[in-house]
Subunit: 202 residues, 2 copies
Amino acid sequence: MERLMDRIRADGRVIGKDILKIDSFLNHQVDVDLMEVIGEEFARYFRRKEITKVLTVEASGIAPAIFTARALRKPLLYARKSKPSTMDAGHYAAEVQSFTKGRVFDITVSASFLGPSDKVLIIDDFLAFGSTVRGLLEITSRAGAEVVGVGIVVEKGFQEAGRQLREQGIDLCSLVVIDRMSEGSVEMHGGIPAASAGHPRR
Amino acid sequence: MERLMDRIRADGRVIGKDILKIDSFLNHQVDVDLMEVIGEEFARYFRRKEITKVLTVEASGIAPAIFTARALRKPLLYARKSKPSTMDAGHYAAEVQSFTKGRVFDITVSASFLGPSDKVLIIDDFLAFGSTVRGLLEITSRAGAEVVGVGIVVEKGFQEAGRQLREQGIDLCSLVVIDRMSEGSVEMHGGIPAASAGHPRR
């Protein structure tokens, strides 16, 4: 996705060896127009799949996921990071490790909103070590629902999770894959083959 | 806003004396189509104001705020509830008390994204005791920015915050105001005068 790569080149900042800071348009301040294009891109890639729900986790997954849900005309469901007092007793939980926050926490989905008839598209902003996506896969599996694919805005290709998920047979679509990065330089490529411009034909 | 009131009547559930649970379409599972209409409604009400940025707080404010930002064609900025390691040293913080979670926490905005030239529209899902909105007002004031208005999806009119904010001279637009509620019954009215269908003329 050229437009996203241009934006990362213009506004991204590498901190240390493995943090890419793009909070001026993705996960603190949000370029809503770019998010809408991102949502349409995921919807195009997964258009041949039957999807009943788009699933993400609060908070930074919501922006790309809500526009994916909009383009697919399906509801969005976001896992909560703390169980509010208004959440029913019946819920599915999984443990997740935050890469940028350096701590472990539970993510939770109410059992009212996810069940065996659901076909779920998981969306998140970043994929690094994959803990969040694995937590969402666990929750979906506990609910008896099916995961039809995973869409990631920025995959850190030099970390393991992308390869592992693909080896597991998961249909993983990353809009941009970072090959390597260091201060002042980000090497990356688009994650969707240009020829198909969508989900690969079988 | 009739459509929102119909939805609250159909799917809302009152827990105890003062919790209205509408997480099947607002703040856990999200009816994206309804959120889009909500965003357009806020944009219509505040259309005569000069706005540079829409401000909310993660996570449940993001859905209504992102569609308000979309309708206004402005960026969204959401305050974080914990300072991630990728956030710059320069930031504005305020203390907020969560009504449903029963705890106090800091909300934080990077100083890079809010400054004296900003005219801010604050959006949130619920207004009860007003702690979150006051935190966002504090952050905006610390940044030297101006608040042009506050848009709330559901105001609990039987609690104090709405009246207090209006007395402070804040242009507060609540789409739905709950007058009173008890198990099985929610009395409410639309918060925008039908005659004006938008911001009141002066």
